[in-house]
Amino acid sequence: MKRQEIFTRVSSIFREVLEDDSLNINEKDGADDIDDWDSLTHIMLIVETEKEFKIRFISSEISNWNNIGDMITAIEDKL
């Protein structure tokens, strides 16, 4: 799966979890850059990502993510 396709699907997950159809994310965005991306929604973002791509992370794999780009790279590595 190409990185752009992963990004598109991740964007949809963010819109759904954060309940904002107009949300536009980019790979450099982190939690401080997106309204409502807090500790609880972070959990739901990870869970919905694991469901969407049928992958599983472990806690140590996600602890070093700084932005959405790191998240997409981690997804790429799993596929």
Partner: protein
């Protein structure tokens, strides 16, 4: 801690809809809608007697998550419930819960649940997501 849970693990808990319980919930919630407290009105609307507040079942979910799981270090993140049939005084409910998802990365466990009465009717069903707090 999350290793104490396995996909498709199931749990059961019984609850009796007693007068004390209903009285306590009515007082706590303040919901004294005639359908819940007046047999004549409830029967007039087609029920066999007054209908107990369905959200009492959410209290049972709270009890189940807080007290009946293998670990106490949990918090509820999400809960939904679909009410399928009316709940009546003196019903006996059997809560049946099954694990449908385990997400080690964030310490989240997802459950499906249903409440079944003594007649084997599904009174409600729904989903719960909890987070381990350790």
């Amino acid at each position: 801690m999350i290793s104490k849970f396995n996909l498709e693990d199931s749990f059961e808990q019984e609850f009796k809809i007693s007068e004390d319980l209903v009285e306590g919930f009515t007082k706590l919630s303040g919901d004294k809608n005639p359908l819940h407290v007046n047999d004549i009105i409830a029967i007039d609307k087609g029920f066999k007697s007054k209908v107990i507040q369905g959200n009492l079942q959410n209290c049972f979910i709270s009890y189940f998550i807080g007290e009946c799981l293998p670990v106490k270090d949990v918090m509820i993140l999400y809960q939904d419930i679909n009410f399928k049939k009316p709940l009546y005084l003196y019903d006996v409910l059997f809560l049946k819960v099954k694990i449908i998802g385990i997400y080690e990365s964030v310490g989240l466990i997802e459950f499906n649940f249903k409440f079944i009465n003594q007649l084997d009717e599904v009174i409600s069903n729904g989903k719960i997501k909890i987070k381990l707090t350790i």
